[in-house]
Symmetry: C2
Subunit: 238 residues, 2 copies
Amino acid sequence: MPSSEISDVLAGRRRGAIMQGDCLVDGRQIPDGTVDAVIVDPPFGIRYRGQNNRQRALLNDEQPFVWFLPEAYRVLRPGGSLICFCQWRVMEDFRRPIQLAGFRIMNCLIWDKGHGGMGHTGCQFAPRHEVAWFAIKGRFRFPGRRPADVLPHRIVPPKRRIHSTQKPLSLMTDLIDSVTKPDELIYDPCCGSGSTVVAAVATGRRAIGMDLDAEHVAAARHRLKHEAANKASDQSVE
Amino acid sequence: MPSSEISDVLAGRRRGAIMQGDCLVDGRQIPDGTVDAVIVDPPFGIRYRGQNNRQRALLNDEQPFVWFLPEAYRVLRPGGSLICFCQWRVMEDFRRPIQLAGFRIMNCLIWDKGHGGMGHTGCQFAPRHEVAWFAIKGRFRFPGRRPADVLPHRIVPPKRRIHSTQKPLSLMTDLIDSVTKPDELIYDPCCGSGSTVVAAVATGRRAIGMDLDAEHVAAARHRLKHEAANKASDQSVE
DNA sequence: ACTACGGTTGAATCCTGAA
DNA sequence: GTTCAGGATTCAACCGTAG
């Protein structure tokens, strides 16, 4: 049974939709070549349980979740692009699958969070960045100015966070502005807190988000409803 | 025939030495466990010939040059560390060899150059960073404060550059301050323009540099002679 | 408008004990 | 044996509040 919200976004009658579902199954509702950018923060396969293991583990986080990639390639139009967040320990687990799905990898993007985290405090540099693969299907062109591959953006303050790995809106709007034009369609098959969809709607794009976790979907839908009108309010580091 | 300059640095009679030679052969002059940090920017195997292919190719740059790693491990003391510059396209070619040589990889460091370079201007984010593996032998501890894994430092302006892949002194002094104490010994088996040795001497460490390329060695020795006394003069981005 | 101070936090990691 | 859940540890940078 196709979701009418997804049909509405595809037809342009609606800006954003977030649905609970399995992107490998329910994502088939999205026709071939209709999406302009896939922007996703998939489970890294590190069994992350939040700071001090306070939250339950993410779903699908037992192994690097790469299986959405062929579907991402299918729904993208030629000239479309993929941004796939990663972590330095597992980035290689994603590189080959991205290529095998048909993409051409163009960049390793760096999200600079501005200050460090935990880890082995005595013998490890404080982790202050995350990485994202930028890959393209066919002949891609930036719609505007050429962006740089380091993106400085502050993390979301914990109290305003509804998800343990939530990306800041300013980071997402920055990326969305760089790779898409207004009214274009963005798809996030593992949308978590919904930052991609919220940022896409806030910048005048259309977006579809999907996630296995019903709780996260509920929170993301609430967020979309209330933050969609507001512009991204996070501050860039620069 | 052992170099007397290297003996002098090992004995503490001299602060820095740069010699022309093959680190796989001439590096054997350095005894086991005498070095506190190996800091190196090896040939990446990308047949780099400078911007616009203006310079001749680097020596040993036909394949990622990983063969110095067992020697690096041998000369390091337990608790010593390795910083090996890399590039995102080939970083995986270095990760396994670093581990196979006996090191434990602790970080992927990001050098943020502050502004972008060239590349495919229409479909690739402007490259603004380089990466470096940080790895340790045995039980390493930072001698001072815990540093972060993103290092913002401006590139050397092309006109002040004597080598096509020259690293800024401020970046090198930052790294050297983070992982070594004054008077400790640093070894760079592919020293190129000699930034590592110059920065080490400028921060009160001792250093040995080696390089195959006689022209680069001559330039680096000149640089060591004239810049050694001066402190690092480059500006950090922050 | 500042500075000073104390509490909070981080896609972390190690360890223990239960299932 | 194995896997999973929870507690302890860590420290530089951030936040909020007080002065």
